[in-house]
Amino acid sequence: MIINTIILFLRDLLPLFILFGYLHVFVKQQTLTFSYLSPALILGVISSLLFFWIVPHISEYYEGTGIERTYVALLVITYSCLFLINSTTSKSVLISGKIKSLILVAASSFIIFKVSAFLIFFDVYFQQQGNSINILIGCIIGLGICASFTTLFTFILTELLESNKTIIINICWALFLAGQLSQITIYLSQVDLINIGPAVIDFSAYIKDQSEYGHVLKALIGFEESPSKLFIFIYSFSFALPFLAQMFITILQRRNHHE
């Protein structure tokens, strides 16, 4: 039971911690981070509770495919709102009204996606076991793992930023975003909205999706033990898109500078 609860934290809440770690580093000022992100946290948590309340009804929409469609929408919103920012985005842009709104929408969507899934599993485990001590211990350990992992991760990102190695941060950030977005292939395939075809490669001999390492890698870069061609295509495209957008913006800036 304790292990199950810890796995839940790794699977559902670690990606959320990692997202907030990145945003924390991008905004760059600790004092600003809480006030900057607190609206997203509050909105996200309230929306998650509401979603958790109505999700049994949503699950029956579109002939029982409502949850997958909702999850896909939330992931697309999250990616669309975040792919334009990275560690080189200036603070003035990050705190400007529109970009800040996009970040808040993205963070809220991601919270709904992850926290609601967490609440569903947590609710069932709680009803099933009735062993609140084990769940509590699992929550404390799980929260401790997520918090300590994120602290260390944020520290590494900050060190990289201060060493001007922004390209490494941006690559990790793009991998994180691509990993989250490419999950849509699994949801869409599960409800027959796309055909993903057979797996191209199988990593299960090295790392299994359901292992602890698998969960951590999935949270960090969207690891999939047996990716299909479509998964790899969407992963590659969503990885490249932030860099292409950044290149486009830089070209426009240079052109304007010369003029």
Binding site: I67, R69, V76, I77, Q128, V191, D192, Q210, N256
Partner: protein
């Protein structure tokens, strides 16, 4: 407090922000319309599974090889259950008293196990994929 970058004029920055925001809205609109309107193709064979007292019925489901099929899972219990299969790469919560749809295949011949993640000791079953003559 936060000064503008010197190499980027305010006008250009506003233009870029507006263009990118507009792009994002258009993208979201298209994506949301597609997600809400796209329907799964319904020419698939339909199979039914039910969950009662944390047991899947039937415990063995035989489906045709190399064909995508639709499985409707109905949960008669008063708690949610999750249909989970590592073999099929499927994972879906079926809420108490509700039914949900899942598609599997096309699959080669073989046996694919699944279980209920919330009651793995009792809720277990397998899907046997066989060649079926027309």
């Amino acid at each position: 407090m936060y000064s503008q970058p010197k190499n980027l004029s305010t006008a250009l920055k506003n233009m870029l922000t507006n263009a990118l925001t507009a792009f994002m809205y258009v993208f979201l609109f298209i994506a949301s319309v597609w997600i809400s309107l796209a329907n799964a193709k319904d020419d698939k064979k339909i199979y039914h599974l039910s969950i009662k007292h944390h047991i899947f019925t039937p415990t063995t489901l035989t489906i045709p090889a190399n064909e995508k099929v639709k499985i409707i899972i109905e949960n008669h219990d008063d708690v949610a259950e999750e249909f989970e299969s590592f073999d099929l790469n499927r994972e879906k919560v079926i809420f108490a008293g509700r039914k949900s749809t899942i598609y599997v295949g096309p699959l080669p011949e073989g046996t694919y196990e699944y279980f209920g993640e919330f009651h793995p000791n009792t809720a277990r079953g397998k899907i046997i994929v066989v060649e079926m003559k027309p």
